[in-house]
């Protein structure tokens, strides 16, 4: 789960990592009031779930409360990569002398969180990794004891951090590792970590991605989930307990098992169609779940037809057929549906579909060809 910068900083602050004072504002007036409380120049930072805010104009400055208000008015409502800015973080401006990068990411190969640090901070770390990989020092964390302070200092020293930053930077990196592990993060970054002109070391920006599977034991963080404006359907699907990903084609796709659904998308593409979504109903789904999945996929206005591809194991063909028939009344009239059933209960399910006058495919390819053809025929009919 993605969280906002201000939420990531709230987690960091719990672990004693120094951050600039500040608060979130939803209106220019609130931003002005916060700036007045803080005193002195402030930074107004758009809180959206995408990178590259600075380049898009989502980070602006105000030397006075009035300027802060004007800056917030410019940033609030701004569109950044398809997302509307609904809140801004107002923080005291730092006099930055140096910028560094501290990050921890779950590494699949070493099967552990890996620390990455660099003295080239404030920029896109993937770019640094691609162009000057020698500037990044990496080290896995042993989960039996976490990152120990001396290890953190060693990593920073190896990366060439100046002596003025080693001690406090080491404490911050140790705390970041604790925050990562105890919050069940997949990613935790401080970019940049700054050394200010008056010699302070602070986290000027932070990014944390949490493990969805661990949210059950972090209820306070789970409450931060909010709809992604670019993808309202995905948010609702998640609330409904459906594993759904929106894509940009017009063939709705439902199947059981992630690998099979992905393969079905590829098959539809190979047959000249464009998948509109990925929806996995999981194992052992009942008719009600199947019906819910169908009506959900049909809510996407881009969907011009739906392919259901089920390999029955613990999922039973008759249940799937019953679900498709149940959903039929709620679906737009004339929406082509092709169902492909195999495995457990496939015979019974196919007989039920035939009685209900529904189309079915003998295998995945046949079904994919049928739905693509049905959609094309309908579009031609509409043009004529």
């Amino acid at each position: 789960m993605k969280i906002h910068e201000y939420q990531a900083k709230e987690i960091l602050a719990r672990y004693g990592i120094p951050i600039q004072p500040g608060r979130v504002a939803y209106t220019p007036e609130e931003a002005e009031a916060i700036a007045r409380d803080l005193g002195g120049p402030v930074v107004i930072k758009a809180q959206v779930y995408v990178g590259g805010r600075g380049k898009a104009g989502g980070i602006q400055f105000g030397n006075t409360p009035e300027e802060a208000r004007a800056a917030a008015a410019r940033v609030l409502g701004m569109n950044i990569k398809g997302l509307t800015v609904q809140k801004v973080l107002v923080v005291s401006k730092l006099e930055i002398q140096e910028e560094y990068y501290l990050g921890i990411v779950l590494d699949r190969k070493t099967q552990a969180p890996v620390v990455m640090v660099s003295t080239a901070g404030g920029v896109d770390i993937e770019e640094v990794a691609a162009t000057t990989p020698e500037k990044i020092i990496k080290q896995p964390i042993d989960l039996r004891w976490g990152l120990r302070p001396f290890e953190a200092r060693n990593i920073l020293a190896r990366a060439g951090f100046p002596s003025a930053v080693i001690a406090r930077g080491g404490s911050i990196l140790t705390a970041l590792a604790r925050a990562f592990i105890e919050s069940d993060a997949n990613l935790a970054e401080i970019n940049p970590l700054v050394l200010t002109r008056d010699g302070q070391v602070q986290a000027a920006d932070a990014k944390i991605v949490l493990d969805d599977n661990a949210l059950y034991r972090h209820r306070d963080y789970a409450a931060w989930e909010e709809p992604e404006e670019a993808n309202p359907l995905e948010f609702e699907a998640h609330k409904e307990g459906l594993t759904y990903v929106k894509l940009n084609g017009n063939v709705g796709i439902i199947g059981n098992g992630a690998g099979l659904v992905m393969t079905t998308l590829d098959m539809v593409a190979a047959c000249g169609g464009k998948p509109a979504n990925f929806l996995d109903i999981g194992g052992g789904a009942r008719a009600e779940v199947m019906a819910k999945a169908l009506t959900f996929v049909a809510r996407d206005p881009d969907v011009k037809g739906i392919l259901v591809n089920i390999f029955g194991g613990i999922t039973r063909g008759e249940e799937v057929a019953r679900g498709v028939i149940m959903a039929q009344q709620q679906l737009p009239a004339g929406l082509p549906i092709v169902v492909r059933l195999s495995g457990t209960g496939a015979e019974e399910g196919r007989a039920m579909l035939k009685d209900a006058g529904l189309d079915w495919g003998k295998d995945m390819r046949d079904a994919a060809q049928k739905i693509v053809a049905a959609i094309q025929a309908k579009e031609k009919g509409q043009q004529a």
């Binding site: 098992g257 690998g259 099979l260 495995g343």
Partner: protein
């Protein structure tokens, strides 16, 4: 012969009294698997599916001499169940459970390695040796014994492809679903090594998907293998940055794309099927070259 699961495999089921645990234990017994006991803390002394239930894996192992475990424990306790099995000396651990916090799996792996056990999964359908039995949830009736080893990250895709192989008259030695999580107990390479040594196996089918670099690692290892490998990669149409159902099926930046995996495998001389329907012919050709 086969790998991992043979006539000497004696299985316990952790979470046997749950809905999934009891249903699949019955299916495993029907398939001929030597399931010898179950474990559910607090239900020791009871019986389930006609088998004795113990409170701990250590007790179950002592009483039955089990050497494998199949885990159906819910996510919050599943990693602990893996560590319990490894600590009790169980050498083959199959974890079916999906949605385990990934750091829990990472911690469990430390214990699995320390005890020299093999973990398959989590978030996997298990494995099947046709004619001997299965550990996990694969539908046994679609398999038939034969010369082809099978490794996949996905469950239902495995069934789909195995059904095509069986229909084409191509039998299987052992089929393994290694799991769709970002951190899994054993990889393509681990199982390719076993298939390379197995006398029954004459060729291997590898079904990969987007995310991570296990397929690229497999491609490197295949260069050193004598037995032919045929591959299929799903997720060619998946957009970057989106999790496609499996927690591990995500393209991050430029890593984990289907195109990258296909290219790595082809560079290792592996025929990569365009669609799953091409797999049986590619396997037949590979087997013919071998004879």
């Amino acid at each position: 012969m086969s790998i991992l699961l043979d006539e000497h495999t004696r299985v316990i089921v952790q979470g046997i009294t749950g809905r999934e645990g009891s249903y699949h234990t019955t299916r495993m017994l029907e398939a001929g698997t030597k399931v010898v006991a179950g474990v559910t803390p607090g239900k020791g002394g009871q019986s389930a599916c006609g088998l004795p239930v113990f409170d701990t894996v250590a007790e179950a192992k002592a009483a039955t001499d089990a050497n494998a475990s199949c885990i159906f424990v819910p996510p919050a306790g599943a990693a602990d169940a893996i560590m319990e099995a490894a600590s009790a000396g169980i050498k083959l651990i199959v974890c079916i459970t999906e949605f385990i916090p990934v750091l829990d799996t990472a911690r469990a792996m430390l214990v699995v390695r320390e005890h020299g056990a093999t973990l398959i999964g989590p978030n996997c359908p298990g494995l099947c040796t046709p004619g001997q039995g299965k550990i996990g949830i694969m539908p046994y009736q679609i398999f038939t014994p034969g010369p082809v080893g099978f490794i996949s990250r996905s469950g239902t895709l495995t069934y789909e492809v195995v059904a095509l192989l069986t229909e084409a008259g191509i039998g299987q030695s052992t089929c393994i679903g290694i799991g769709g999580d970002p951190i899994i107990g054993s990889t393509f390479v681990d199982h390719l090594k076993l298939f390379e040594q197995d006398p029954q196996t004459q060729a291997v089918v590898l079904c990969g998907e987007i995310g991570g670099s296990d397929e690229e690692d497999a491609a490197e290892f295949i260069k050193t293998m004598k037995k032919p490998v045929v591959a299929f990669i799903s997720g060619r149409t998946a957009p970057p940055g989106k999790r496609m159902g499996h927690a591990g099926a995500i393209i991050s930046g430029n890593t984990g794309t289907a195109q990258g995996k296909v290219a790595a495998l082809q560079a290792a001389g592996v025929p990569v099927a365009e669609t799953i329907f091409d797999i049986p012919d590619l396997v037949k050709a590979a087997l013919a070259r071998r004879v």
